[in-house]
């Protein structure tokens, strides 16, 4: 497993070169950086960045990776935590996924993430790789993934583009999740024209682990080796960054860089088993999945979470496309890859596990005591940075926000005052017709045309799945210990009142978990909103986070992780604020779970309506 080739000829922009060519024009704007952000990079480095450094900063300082617009608000999830809420938290927000203690030495990790815009561009692959990405987050905690869920939002069911998006997304989620052997235990499907150009494809994964198998993404222990394993690196997902195709920035050679990633669920299934064997035999010290921002993210996060520095030789990365430049390799979003830190005495055992599963790997470098992340290309330094400045000290914005002027009118616009509200059903027949109309609406009617495309049986531990209110999986066969998860959101409520809407989303998923018979323990959220640069959207977002964090405090359940998806808008028209909230609960014994719906066993039993 040596480097494929080191003969590739590029005009390599080294640190040395950068220091002596301060005036080189760099495509920072094309890479999505703002002037002030680029100036900050120059200030941090004390010189202009190299092409490779520019690539790293630009992806890591993106909204997606840095949470620059929401950081100041998301803090509330950490601030509004009581000691009681923390008592079962083994790992909180900040890691790949939060981890909650289940007792008996078991722990559970779960997280929800978005893959919205890729799923609009290429529905099948976008949704498939959404499942792939969230599952790798779960593996990287040391857990075995045990279930997935998929809350979805589509445009109008009869719009000409919906067929492409809906069927592609559902097939992609099934195609990837089914191939991994992960039961799909629930989700949501909502049709609303507001999502026409911005469908929401959120994916959730749950994993379980023994306490001793817990792994974190940090590179510690000077001399420990850095290894990249799984799929080879291709040009996936860097279509937008094709300005890097020529790293000298002076000519524009045509480049073919796929903007979409194609998933390989088989490779991921093998990666799961391979990682579990590594964990079981304690062969990795730290581990990180490669998702958005690929190697940039993995190296800078591992290094900055560790105690030293890291040295990496980039020509040792195994490539699918040998024409990739260093900057592109750093940004590539090729799927089904992991990076791990392995102590020298475990190198041989690590290689044995790779051989068993037929997984490719390459040793890239080692942990150092320099506090610097140094990346070389054939021995020449092309990145020399403090990894914290890449991974954690990105820009933070206090974006202006205000309540929309039209909000009052929106709230005042009551259905009963409208023309259609004037003839609310009065007679029995009219009521009957209204009920039938409601039941036939795409949002109310049977979802089994979707759920029948998902495997809910695999694993043999699914105690509840569609059509139940919550999904339930058994964790321990001996005791029946298990978990329940439900996801919910209502974008129309949140549009009317972003604060209360987020709270209602939590309340609904909390109720769904509770009615299944589980005790709610933890929350993960995926905040789907429009552009944060629009002060009215920013207000929805600020209110949503404030509302959700207040409600979590009230109910005593901590947010253990989540994801923010912004810029979900077509032109200046944002989607409704859609905070999708997932609640996880615990069962002592899943044998006591309560299915939703009536069964003929229940003939003759009484029906009660509880609550207000």
């Amino acid at each position: 497993m040596t480097a494929e080739t080191t003969e590739r000829q590029f005009n390599i922009d080294t640190v040395e070169h950068a220091a002596t060519t301060p005036d080189t024009e760099l495509p920072w704007a094309e890479l999505g950086l703002k002037r002030n952000e680029f100036d900050e990079i120059v200030r941090i480095l004390g010189r202009r960045p190299t092409a490779a450094e520019l690539a790293m900063y630009s992806v890591m300082w993106s909204e997606h990776c840095s949470y620059k617009s929401t950081k100041v608000h998301l803090r509330q999830f950490g601030d509004k935590l009581t000691e009681d809420m923390k008592k079962d938290l083994l790992v909180g927000i900040g890691e790949n996924a939060g981890v909650t203690d289940l007792g008996d030495g078991w722990a559970v990790t779960f997280k929800i993430e978005s893959h919205n815009s890729p799923s609009y561009v290429e529905p099948y692959q976008g949704a498939a790789t959404g499942i792939g990405g969230i599952v790798r987050d779960i593996i990287s905690m040391g857990a075995r993934p045990v279930a997935v869920m998929d809350p979805l939002r589509f445009g109008a069911i009869d719009h000409e583009d919906s067929q492409r998006v809906v069927h592609g997304v559902v097939a992609g989620i099934g195609g990837y999740g089914n191939s991994l052997g992960l039961p799909n235990i629930g989700g949501e499907t909502v049709f609303d024209p507001i999502y026409q150009g911005n469908p929401l494809v959120n994916a959730l994964a749950v994993g379980v682990l023994r306490h001793e198998d817990l792994r974190l993404a940090n590179a510690s222990g000077v001399g420990n080796r850095i290894v990249l394993f799984g799929a080879r690196t291709g040009g996936d997902g860097i279509g937008g960054a094709s300005v890097l195709a020529s790293e000298s920035f002076d000519d524009t050679k045509p480049s073919k860089r796929p903007a979409v990633q194609v998933g390989d669920p088989f490779a991921e299934k093998v990666l799961i088993e391979c990682c579990l064997e590594l964990f079981k035999n304690s062969l990795v010290e730290g581990i990180q999945d490669l998702g958005a921002a690929g190697i940039s993210c993995a190296t800078s996060e591992l290094a900055s979470n560790g105690e030293g520095g890291m040295q990496v030789e980039l020509t040792d990365v195994l490539l699918r496309d040998p024409t990739l430049t260093p900057g592109e390799i750093l940004m590539s979003e090729s799927q089904e890859r992991m990076m791990a830190v392995v102590s020298p005495e475990n190198v041989a055992a690590f290689e044995d596990v790779m051989a068993t599963w037929g997984v490719e790997y390459s040793w890239l470098g080692e942990v150092t005591d320099t506090n610097r992340l140094i990346i070389t290309w054939d021995g020449e330094t092309i990145v020399d940075v403090d990894p914290k400045t890449v991974a954690h000290d990105g820009p933070v914005y206090e974006r202006p926000y205000h309540r929309p002027a039209a909000q009052d009118a929106l709230v005042a616009d009551r259905f009963r005052d409208s023309t259609s509200g004037a003839d609310l059903p009065a007679s029995g027949d009219a009521l009957r017709a209204a009920v039938l109309e409601l039941m036939a609406s795409p949002n109310m009617c049977d979802k089994s045309w979707i759920t029948s495309q998902y495997d809910r049986y695999v694993g043999g531990n699914t105690a509840l799945a569609a059509p139940d209110d919550a999904g339930v999986v058994r964790v321990d066969e001996e005791t029946g210990l298990g978990v329940a998860v439900a996801t919910d959101a209502n974008g129309r409520y949140a549009f009317l009142d972003p604060y209360a809407g987020a709270q209602l989303a939590l309340a609904e998923s909390y109720r769904n978990v509770a009615t299944s018979g589980a005790v709610p323990m933890a929350v993960s959220d995926c905040l789907n909103y429009g552009s944060p640069e629009d002060p009215e959207v920013m207000w929805q977002l600020a209110e949503g986070i404030r509302g959700l964090s207040d409600a979590c405090l009230e109910l005593g359940v901590p947010v253990t992780g989540g994801n923010v998806s912004l810029y979900n808008q077509t032109g200046s028209k944002p989607i409704h604020p859609t905070p999708v909230v997932a609640t996880l609960g615990r069962f002592d014994d899943v044998g006591r779970r309560t299915p939703s719906g009536f069964h003929h066993e229940a003939d003759g039993q009484a029906v009660y309506l509880m609550g207000v």
Partner: protein, 101 residues
């Protein structure tokens, strides 16, 4: 009836998991002469009547619109299959085809 063949392949820069799996299996079976494999799709469209320019144009359009996904695939061939061997007869592989390029 005449047949139009449409060949669709994954774009070269796009990952082809199927091809990769096949490439991995070949050497295990003793086939060691191949460096890479890519798997695409071949469509045979049976034409009712004659293959006019109009029909060929339809086939080309259908290849772009329906038979391929332009985001990840290329249409690499739209050609008329010479009528001969009764449908279903495996064609002897000896005669090389002059493929367009």
């Amino acid at each position: 009836m005449p047949t139009i063949v449409v060949d669709v392949m994954p774009k070269p820069e796009i990952l082809d998991p199927q091809g990769k799996a096949i490439a991995g299996a070949l050497p295990r079976l003793g086939f060691t002469g191949f460096a890479a494999v890519r798997q695409g799709r071949r469509f045979e469209l049976t034409v009712e009547g004659e293959v006019t320019d109009e029909v060929l144009a339809q086939a080309r359009q259908a290849a772009e619109d329906l038979l391929s996904n332009p985001v990840i695939e290329d249409v690499v061939n739209v050609t008329v299959l010479a009528e001969a061997a009764p449908a279903g007869e495996p064609v002897p592989a000896e005669d090389a085809e002059g493929q367009n390029a």
